[in-house]
Structures are given as C-alpha cells and as structure tokens.
C-alpha cells in the first residue's frame, strides 16, 4: 500500500508494476471447476451430466445451440454440477471435473480463422475476449486495441505476454484481422516494451505507467482522442478492447491447432512479493496459493484481480476464471478500513478523479439513495471505476462501493421503467 507522501502539494500517483516476473508453470490440478453462464433464455435441456467424460479443449454447453459455453481445460470426468451465483447476481452452473492427469485433446476445434470459429471457441479463452460486438449488426467496429498493459496495479500478466510471447501476439493480430475484417489494430504498451510491441504487427502506442491510464476509457481519451459518453461503452463508439493475453491465445491456437487452456495469473503475497504463474483455467485458488507458498488465515482478504479494482472473494475453493488476472492476499492488519463518517468536503477526491467528477457532492446523493439525481446532476455514469476517490478519502468513506451500488440500482430502475413503458 502506498502511503500519503510527507509533502502534500502533489496528488498521490499510483504506479503500475512494470517488472513482470518469470512464469512458474503449475502442474495439472486434481480437479477443476468451470463456471458456465446461464443462457439468457433460461435453463434448456442440459446435454451435460455427471459422469460424462470430457477431453481437453472440448466445448461444453447446456445445449448445442446455446451461446454460452466453457472450454474444458483438463481431460477427465464430470463429478458434480451445481448452481452458483456470482457477482452482481449473475447465475452460473459450476461444473466440477476430476482430472485424470493426461491430456486427451478434443478434435472439435477447426483451425480456420473466422468469426464463427471465434464465437464458438474463443469466448472462454484466457483473457476473456468478447467477439459478440463484431457479430452485432448495429455496431460498426473500426478499431481494435490490444492492451499490452495490465489494468490494475501489481499485475503483470499482459506485460509478460508482450515481452515474452510476441510471436504468438503477431499470429493473434493477423488472425484478428482475418476474423473481424478490422484493419486498424493498435497495441498499447508501456514505454519499456515499445521495442517488443513493434514486432507484433499492430500499431504501437506507448502509454504512461501511472494508474489509471491503462483503463479503456483513459486509453480512448488519451490515445484515440475520443471521449466515451457517460453510460456508453467503447463498443458503441466503434472500438473493441482485447487483452494481450487473449490475442496471444488466439495466435497460439491457430498456430498449433490446440486451444490454450491455461491462464497467466499474478499472485501477490502478504509481504508484497509477486509471482507469475501459468495454471489451468478452473484451478481452485487454494492450489495456486499453495504452489506460491502464500498463507491465508482467518479475516484475510482474498482478492481476485488487482488491489484497486479487484473483488474480494469468500472461499479459496473458487476457481481461476479466464478473466482472473491476479490473486492478491491481504493481511487483516494491512487492509484498508472504511468508516461511516460523513464527507468533510476536503476536496481530495475531486483533485484526484481522472474524469473530473464532483465526488464530494456525488457521494452525498448516493448516501441519500437519490440515484437519478446523482446521474443527472453529478455525473454518476461518467465514472470509470478506478477507485482512486476511495483511496484518498480522509473520512474513509467506501465511495467506490457506493458508486457501484448506485450504478447497479440505476440499471434496475431503468430496466423497470423500460419494462413498464
């Protein structure tokens, strides 16, 4: 944790971790848990049963025409299927597969770069790319940004990929061009990796190493010169963001004919020591922590993601997902405590907000649960969710939590209005 500096004249600046550690390959775990998202049309006839044998790389879905699927990362048998509810009330089916230890690769993957193949096999790739905007007739995508920089502090997985897997990245960018038909592909890298970035075939753009300049909204503003309006996504303005790890997975898959089923995770222990590990998707967190010798006790925080935007989770039996970029373990003594003190109007949050939201007024409206006024008058929807306001709040208000709650509640209000309209 970076403490307040002695001289208070300059805004505190959090820096990204620019030194990717070398990768430790973890062995195949005894069992993996894959989280299959519930289809939008509700539970169809499930083609998966407990006892089914699965092969590595096999596409598993609830029904043959379902858009949601998982890619099995091990060869083995399904030992359990249970419902699971994740963040923001998203429903999943948790498929537990007992691994046999050997890899028997599935033949279903067709090695031809097309949008259909991408939608059918790569939505579950490590790095969680999303190809749905390309199939959406209402959106015209003109630019793809491959983000070679990690979005959160402490993490280095994407930078490792740019530094050490540039060949796969190159293959992935070529595949992207064929799959999507988009000609303009940018790759954003920190200054130290511009050399490696220029070998990938994408248009290299250097971004600063200060948090939160690697977040999509900031890259849109600083690199592309386009500002994403409040409530819109970059896809609405014609730009799709993909992580470097996902593109490298694409390149490796089309190059070797085998889907990539491992994820690069930065594990941060209590003393701040970082390790990069490559592990099968679906590995329980317990196995990863044991392999890195990270101890976890009662009242600690087990954070999936980075220290500023990650999500604390309640169990080490939960799995590594394709979008798990980091695992941070924080001791109780080091954790940031929040209080119920009111805002004292010191203005630290205003000075540090990257998008100039008047956070001191916004938090008052959010605490009073006036979400529509907060969005209309005090720019709730402009927030890029960096967490810096809570980082500097002298009253220790959980501002980020209020903002996320406000956005969620506002979304519910809007869907209720749309349904009754």
């Amino acid at each position: 944790m970076i403490k307040r500096s002695f001289l208070g004249l300059v805004n505190p600046r959090l820096q990204y971790n620019l030194v990717p550690d070398s990768v430790q390959e973890l062995p195949v775990p005894n069992k993996v848990i894959l989280l299959l998202k519930e289809s939008k049309n509700g539970a169809g006839a499930s083609t998966l049963k407990v006892g089914d044998g699965v092969k590595t790389g096999q596409r598993l879905s609830a029904s043959p025409d379902s858009a949601e699927y998982v890619i099995s990362s091990v060869t083995g048998t399904i030992s359990a299927m249970a419902p699971y509810v994740g963040m923001q009330a998203q429903k999943y089916t948790a498929i537990t597969i007992d691994a046999s230890g050997q890899d028997n690769w599935d033949e279903g993957f067709k090695n031809e770069p097309s949008l259909d193949t991408a939608l059918k096999f790569f939505e579950y790739a490590p790095g969680s790319p999303c190809f749905k905007p390309f199939a959406d007739p209402e959106k015209t995508i003109r630019t793809i940004v491959v983000n070679g920089m990690d979005q959160d502090v402490l993490l280095t997985a994407n930078q490792y990929v740019v530094k050490n897997e540039a060949v796969d990245l190159k293959g992935g960018i070529e595949a992207l061009k064929k799959i999507t038909g988009v000609e303009r592909i940018l790759i954003t890298v920190p200054e130290s990796l511009v050399q490696q970035g220029s070998t990938t075939g994408g248009e290299v753009k250097a971004i600063s190493a200060t948090y939160p300049d690697s977040l999509p909204h900031m890259i849109m503003k600083n690199v592309l010169g386009q500002v994403v309006s409040a409530g819109a996504t970059p896809e609405d303005t014609g730009v799709v963001f993909v992580s470097a790890e996902a593109v490298a997975a694409l390149g490796a898959a089309f190059g070797s004919g085998q889907l990539r089923v491992t994820k690069l995770v930065t594990v941060v222990g209590k003393n701040g020591k970082t390790t990069n590990v490559r592990t099968r998707i679906g590995t329980p967190l317990r196995d990863v922590l044991q392999a890195c010798n990270v101890s976890l006790n009662d009242r600690d925080r087990l954070i999936l993601g980075g220290a500023m935007r990650g999500a604390a989770t309640y169990s080490e039996d939960l799995p590594v997902e394709p979008r798990t970029d980091g695992i941070v373990v924080q001791d109780e003594a080091d954790s940031a405590q929040t209080t119920d003190y009111p805002c004292i109007n010191c203005g630290e949050c205003i000075r540090i907000c990257p998008v100039k939201i008047p956070v001191n007024m916004l938090i008052r409206f959010l605490e009073a649960r006036l979400y529509e006024d907060a969005a209309a008058m005090y720019d709730l929807e402009c927030c890029i969710e960096c967490g810096l306001c809570s980082y500097v709040c002298i009253s220790r208000i959980p501002i980020f939590q209020y903002i996320m709650l406000g956005k969620y509640e506002l979304g519910l209000i809007k869907t209720a209005e749309a349904a009754s309209a």
Binding site: K3, R4, G8, L9, P12, L14, I33, Y84, V153, V228, S229, A230, R286, L296, N297, D298, D300, R301, I303, G305, A307, M308, R309, G310, A311, A312, T313, Y314, S315, D317, L318, V328, Q330, S335, A336, T338, Y341, P342, I344, N345, G347, I350, P354, V355, K356, I357, P358, N360, M361, D379, E381, C382, G387, S390, Y391, V392, I394, P398, F400, Q401
Partner: protein, 322 residues
C-alpha cells in the same frame, strides 16, 4: 464451495493512503502551537486558562451533544479540540469564563452539531461564535480596554482601533518589524505573525490546508488594501499593515480554509479567498467594525454552495439541451 477459513469480503479498492481526520486535526493543532505559545508567554496564566478552558469546553459540549443525540463519541477526530483551540486564540486574554462557555456552545452546537456534525456545517464554527460574541459583548472584545492592565514593553494600543479612529498618522508608531515579530496588542493567538506564517506554511506544504484559499485570501487583502492606500494614504493604511494586524493571518491559514464551509473546486477556491479578503478590507476601511474578518468570511461561507458550481464539465458528460 464454502471453505473453513473466514475471509473478509470487502469492496475494492483495497489500498488506502493512510490519511485520517484525526491526523489532520492534530497537525493543525501543532501548526498553531508557535502562535499560541507566544501568546501565553506574553499574557501569562490567564491566556493559558482561556486556551485550555476553550478546548475543554468545546470537547465537553460535543460529548453532551453526542449523548443527547445518541450517536457515538466523535471527539476522537480532534475537530472539537481544534475548534476550541482556534476560538481561544481569537479571544482576548482577559475573556471571562462564561464567555468561553457561551462561545464554545455557539461554535460547537449552533455552528456544527445542529447541522449534523462534522462535514455538514455551512458556516465556520469558531468564526460564527466570534461574530456573535463580538456583536453581543462589544466591550469585552475592545482590546484597548481588555488589555489595559498589561504593559509588555511595546505600544499597547490595538493597531486597528488606532487606524479606524485616528487615521494613518496614529499608526506610524507601529513598525512593521514589531508587528511581524508579535510585539503588538491583540488576541491571544493572532499577534504572532511569524508563528502563524510558519504554521501556515507547514500546513500548506503538508497538504492539510488548501493553499489556493489561503494565498488567494492574502492576495485579496493585500491588493484591496494597496488600492485603498494608493487612493488616500492619509485615511487608509498600507497592505502589509493590514496583513500583520488583526485576525488576517490566523484567518488565512486556519479559519478560511476550513473544509466544510469552503469550496472544493479550484476556481471557486480562488474566488472565495479573494472575495473574503476584499470584504475584510472593505469592512476595515469603510465599515464600522474595527476588524472585518469574522463577518467577511461568514458572508463568503454563505456564497460557498453557489461558488462550488463553477467546475469543469466531467469528461464524458452528455449535456442534454432543455
């Protein structure tokens, strides 16, 4: 998938820069110490009694309010102590005990607690108390009368009173050096200019008091006094005189940048400070009060919410035309 270990599920971000309200208030008290110690060394035990009693009364009133409202004790954040300290610094050394009780009642309860506590006060608490006491008990705050038994080796008439009633000829006997070094009559904590400047610089450099407000207030006082002086130097004193006398310096560094009653955006802070400085000198030169600081700052506190609307548009904000 429930493990035996009880992990804490909190929300991002998981880092904090370590700042606290209590840390800030303790540093404000430390910064005020040079001026306070100087005042106590000049006026002796009565001054110490006033300061200590003011701090204690402020904290006791806050505890009484916490109990009456059924809220947890809030004196741990140090804001009541700071309010008491600042109010004590604004009083003459001979202030009677009941004045301090009444003053801290106004500052803590009327100025802060009835609005909801810390962070909700629209007006500056110590200045609100000072303004009400000055209007109600004018003779006690007439420094010439309050300090008439003191002879400390320098000119003991109150500089601003001399200026208002006798013009600039009467203040020629105050050298700027004396005023700067604290050899002037006045309130306990507002005479030691170098001590206040030192404390103010410390707070601004450490980031505890917003320099935009402090410096724009001083600039407002300086420029307005300069303009008045240039127009008629027989009636109006020079800018440095106005800076080093009265409550100017203690207001600039400790009172005007009070968090809740001052704006938080950049341009509003500059306007707030400059207009407060302007009003101070206007009241001093063409108003009836000897020192205009309490009233000018309270007036600008009322303008604070409107001033805070002068802010840049948020990035990404979609402005829908009516």
């Amino acid at each position: 998938m429930n493990s035996e270990k009880k992990l804490v599920v909190a929300h991002a971000p998981f880092w904090h820069d370590g700042s606290k309200i209590s840390t800030k208030n303790y540093h404000i008290m430390i910064a005020a110490l040079p001026a306070v110690l100087w005042g106590i060394s000049q006026y002796g035990a009565p001054a110490l009694a006033v300061i200590a009693f003011a701090m204690a009364c402020a904290m006791i009133w806050e505890v009484i309010m916490n109990i009456a409202l059924g809220k947890p004790f809030s004196i741990g954040d140090g804001s009541a102590a700071v309010t008491g300290l600042l109010l004590g610094m604004l009083m003459p050394a001979t202030a009677p005990w009941w004045l301090i009780v009444l003053g801290t009642f106004i500052a803590i309860i009327v100025g802060k607690q009835i609005f909801g506590g810390i962070g909700f006060n629209p007006l500056n608490p110590p200045l609100l108390a000072l303004a009400m006491l000055v209007i109600s008990f004018k003779p006690i705050f007439d420094f010439n009368e309050a300090l008439r038994h003191y002879d400390l080796g320098f000119v003991m008439t109150y500089p601003l009173a001399d200026l208002k009633y006798f013009g600039t000829g009467a203040i020629a006997k105050f050298s700027l050096g004396d005023l700067f070094m604290g050899r002037q009559a006045g309130a306990i904590g507002s005479t030691c200019s170098w001590g206040l400047i030192l404390g103010g610089l410390y707070l601004m450099l450490r980031g505890y008091m917003r320099w935009e407000i402090s410096l724009s207030f001083l600039a407002g006082v300086f420029i307005t006094a300069l303009l008045f002086n240039l127009s008629d130097s027989a009636k109006y004193a020079g800018p440095f005189f106005h800076l080093f006398t009265g409550y100017t310096l203690i207001a600039a560094f400790f009172l005007v940048p009070e968090d809740s009653s001052s704006p938080a955006n950049f341009i509003p802070m500059l306007i707030f400070g400059a207009l407060a400085g302007l009003m101070t000198v206007l009241i001093r030169n063409i108003g009836i009060y000897v020192d205009g600081v309490p009233f000018s700052i309270l007036l600008m506190n009322l303008a604070n919410p409107l001033l805070d609307k002068i802010r840049p548009k948020a990035i990404g904000k979609v402005v829908e035309n009516a």
